[in-house]
């Protein structure tokens, strides 16, 4: 098992390296170069030469790649083209906000999703199961901005219970933070909840169709007993896997949610920088998102290996 885990870890590192090369290569496929992209139409040769000098664009690509990677690993993230501020400072300011948003969404959605999935599996082929199934299907299908717009329209505008925008001051008190986060967290929760509940249900039902469960049914055990004591332990590996995969989904989810609510997080920074074509910021922040995503996917696989008795003793 240790060998499996180490192999998966090494593979994860390899994937991260490949991703970093591709993220860096994004600048190399620019028509012209960064200098041209920044200055646009009104480019003078002197200004272009100036920027090239400042960004070290005269060096060969592989040197710049290692410079960039070395900087990333040592915490020197470079400077924004648009504002010339250090990217590291901006990231430090915003990272906490994003972690609050994603963390709270995960904290609420994981237990809720597993419960819903189990309830649907226990009551398979009843009205309750059909209700949950259609509900989760709908929430999987709708875009985050629809959920958000509906929540804002009814809860913030019509009923005026919550603020419509997630404005947070520097170092807000807990109460202020939670109030600002209520709607963004709810939006994100709905999006992930549906995926997780559905996959949990599928995982449990898959186990339920195996022979030893049939044996338990013939023995006369109750359905709840069978699910909790016989099916759940064996469905744990796929469920843990589903949870980790959906945490990775949060990485994409925050992009739209932060934009809707004007929430000053990392994703909001990334989207703004893409609009300004602030390439150094896009590369660095994009890499942070990719690394988190690759890391969580790796975690999903490793947890699945650890939780699966059959994989613990490979033949």
């Amino acid at each position: 098992m240790l060998r499996l885990v180490v192999t998966r870890l090494l593979l994860g590192l390899l994937v991260m390296w490949v991703v970093s090369v591709l993220v860096f290569a994004a600048t190399e496929i620019l028509p012209g170069d960064v200098a041209q992209a920044v200055l646009g139409q009104g480019i003078t040769p002197e200004a272009a030469a100036n920027i090239r000098e400042r960004l070290g664009l005269n060096d060969p690509a592989y040197l710049r790649y290692f410079d960039w990677l070395g900087g990333l690993l040592s915490g020197d993230l470079g400077h924004s083209l648009a504002s010339n501020f250090a990217i590291a400072d901006e990231v430090a300011d915003r990272l906490g906000n994003t972690l609050w948003l994603a963390g709270l969404a995960a904290l609420i959605s994981v237990p809720l999703a597993v419960t819903l999935g189990l309830v649907a599996a226990v009551h398979a082929d009843t009205l309750l199961d059909r209700g949950i199934s259609i509900g989760t299907l709908c929430f999987i299908s709708v875009p985050e901005f629809f959920t958000a717009a509906v929540l804002v329209y009814f809860l913030a505008v019509k009923l005026q219970w919550l603020p419509p925008l997630a404005y947070v001051s520097q170092d807000p008190a807990l109460g202020e933070r939670l109030e600002a986060l209520a709607l963004p967290v709810a939006t994100l929760t709905f999006a992930v909840l549906a995926h997780m509940a559905r996959m949990t249900q599928t995982a449990v039902l898959n186990v339920m169709s195996s022979a030893y469960i049939e044996q338990a049914i013939l023995k006369g055990a109750s359905r709840i007993h069978i699910i909790l004591h016989h099916a759940l332990p064996n469905a744990l590996a796929p469920i843990i896997n589903v949870i980790a995969l959906n945490l990775a989904y949060l990485v994409s989810g925050v992009i739209v949610v932060e934009t809707i609510f004007n929430y000053p997080g990392l994703a909001d920074y990334l989207v703004q920088s893409v609009a300004y074509r602030d390439i150094p910021v896009v590369q660095t922040v994009g890499m942070i998102f990719c690394a988190t995503y690759v890391g969580l996917n790796m975690l999903a696989d490793i947890l699945a290996i650890l939780a699966n008795p059959r994989l613990r003793h490979p033949r």
Partner: protein
Amino acid sequence: MTDSANAEKSGFLARHPLTPTAITGIAIIGFWVVVALFGPLVAPYADSDIITDISFAPAGEIGLLGTDYLGRDVLSRIIYGARMTMGLALAATLLSFSTGITLGFTAAVLGGWTDSVLSRINDAIMAFPSIILALLVIAALGTSIPILVITVALIDATRVFRLSRVLALDVSVMDFVDAARARGEGLWWITFREILPNTVAPLTAEFGIRFTFAILFIAALSFLGLGVQPPTADWGSMVRENLQGLLFGSTAALLPAASVASLTVGINLIVDWFLKRLSGPVATEMMR
């Protein structure tokens, strides 16, 4: 060939009658297809006509569904937006299917290093969170409709590649493919006459899934301001433009968001119905 496929299809419907949820899905999609095809003929205004200087007029007062932030008719823009959003998503899905299936089948049939190279490239692209990949491409190349369609198609194609490769691997070990090889049929024949007809059902379901993904993805990018650019009417960018109005109780942002939601729910209702009636491990895998 076509006759037997048709017979199988009508047999499929006879064996699995439509459920109320599937009928709802078909009705929703039918509605939006008609709107996209013929709506612009009957739309009260053109999509970029400014009909009043009142922003965010409520529904019913000016125009049937009110006006947007520039005083344009929301109903007309939703109608034109249906054509834009569905058209772009369909283009992206068709592109992703033609490339994904061709490369997936090629990898499976040729095997060896062709398979290894194609699969590793595919893995590398799939290692990215899709939206971040799209943001990187857009940051590098700028926004335009061709870039938008190609980016979404590229991301979709990786999923189609993976599925069609696995499907083709399953089919290509069957006796009738061996028989075709023994007859001395070429690669082209084996791929399109032997393998493709036997993978139609799961690929049809996948088409629905990928089409939904393309709609949601294009809408999300337009919502972020990185997709379809103003003044073109598109559901995602309409939500973005009118988001401020939501705070004053205007439904100009809510309606296009609801349009996207209804369309994608409609498609998924049908896909779900179809998948539950497909047997075999592939269908179980795809339902997850």
